[in-house]
Symmetry: C2
Subunit: 289 residues, 2 copies
């Protein structure tokens, strides 16, 4: 079955999916995106993703290309046209095509692209043993709360991690505070069992998985402290983990080569992962064995 | 004569110019660009632009899609195929098409797009009376020295200026220092006749027009001081101006509604503009009357 993507009103063979060279997404990074996981062809936390997408568009004054209802119909149609049981849908919306000029065009037709790909879940070994992260300076712009396609600093940090053989880069500001990962949120757990994670402000993207996991943790009676934490504090933590749509809850067992706790995935982290698996199961029927 | 653009090896009708939806320029702002002016079909400061383009590519480890010589040939061919005597060429190069993953693809074929447009020179009235600028917080990432397409903060600032009826937004960091404009470099002139402009570091893009104008000023015996200046200092300056490929040297006569000096274009500014006109004339034969 050929891979089919959705581009501005048409379902096309993926290889033929194209946008105009003067799409403002291409010339100015003037757009936003979402990545949503699905299992058994059912989306995880669809409402939260759609809500965040609407917020990102509103923050940048980009007109939604269609109603949320219509967008969900396209997502369903793409699932029907692609041969994937589990996977992710990537949705990108830009301010559309206009003669190149920095200020917004007076009127605009937003562009929308959707692409289905296979699931990119962590390997069993990564979950069992935990992953390594490196730290990098946080070079990003000041509005990380918007899920924009202005991702050049993120890819440079992720590339640095990949080159170092690490799973992710944790971004450190000029005060030594870890804001979040290049492509994920993160948290540490101290010796009192408190889950410490950066507050939801302009310094981080409010991750959907982050939000869900914090809700699950709270319901399970775990203590959550939303505050900044330093690189020093992270390296001295008992446990650490990261969250994202494609990582679920992933134990972090090394930061810059330094063992976190005893160097093995922590018990609270694994409890959170189990709770998150149950959450996915309730929404999609997907089981991890 | 139809508008012809160049896209990845082909000369195409501009309306049909397209790139793949998974071009990393579209998904990640993973690319760089240049804008070069031409008059009488001759480029202004071509060597400086080509040098900067090579630097931007090298900083991001993006493979040049072709030799500089080949790129210049495409530029000439585009001039021949388009009906423009004066105008600009826009050149964009991205890391090319790859399945979406933040880290760099192991191998990549860079994408290249070139578009010719008409000259967008300042209006006679803007030169005669000067322009207004507003100030905005500088929200950009930390590597402004790279001419990347990660321009979302720039377009938001430029849009704020446009909405306020101003020509440009001057970007102010959290210490009250003006770094540069959203789409231009800038300078102020104090009562001693010294030209004060931000030093060429990671906080600003090293503009080609900036460099040329500073060289011309230096040869004319004017004093140049490359140092940071504050918003307060700018508002108390005797003269102010901005430079860019499409603005030449443009007098700034109001900052946030406050008159600069006597509210008219300054004499040194107009001297610099005249020197810049002569510079363009020498390279292209273009005369401003």
């Amino acid at each position: 079955m050929a891979k089919i993507s959705y581009v501005n009103g048409r379902y096309v063979h993926h290889a033929e999916g194209a946008v105009h060279i003067e799409d403002r997404g291409y010339q100015f990074a003037d757009g936003v995106y979402e990545v949503m996981a699905f299992y058994n062809r059912r989306f995880v936390d669809e409402n939260l993703h759609m809500k965040r997408l609407a917020r990102s568009l509103a923050e940048l004054h980009i007109k939604p290309p269609m109603s949320a209802k219509a967008m969900r119909m396209v997502m369903q149609e793409l699932l029907a046209r692609n041969d994937r049981i589990d996977g992710t849908v990537y949705i990108q919306i830009s301010r559309g095509v206009a003669k190149r000029d920095h200020h917004f065009p007076k009127i605009h037709d937003s562009s929308i692209v959707m692409v289905i790909t296979g699931a990119k879940m962590p390997k069993a070994k990564e979950v069992r043993e935990g992953v390594s992260v490196i730290t990098c300076p946080d070079l990003r712009w000041a509005r990380r709360d918007i899920k924009s396609i202005s991702l050049l600093p993120n890819i440079l940090a992720k590339q640095a991690a990949t080159a170092a053989g690490a799973r992710e880069a944790w971004l450190v500001n000029d005060k030594g505070i870890i804001t979040e990962g290049a492509v994920s949120n993160n948290a540490i757990i101290n010796s009192k069992g408190e889950i410490i994670t950066s507050p939801k402000d302009n310094n981080i993207l409010g991750g959907v998985t982050r939000e869900t996991v914090l809700n699950l943790a709270s319901k399970a009676g775990l203590k959550i402290v939303e505050r900044s934490f330093s690189i020093k504090e992270a390296k001295a933590a008992k446990e650490a983990f990261l969250t994202s749509t494609t990582s679920n809850v992933l134990p972090v067992t090394r930061i810059d080569g330094i063992k976190v706790g005893n160097g093995k995935p922590g018990t609270i982290t694994m409890q959170l992962l189990e709770l998150y698996y149950q959450h996915i199961y309730k929404q999609t029927g997907k089981r991890w064995s």
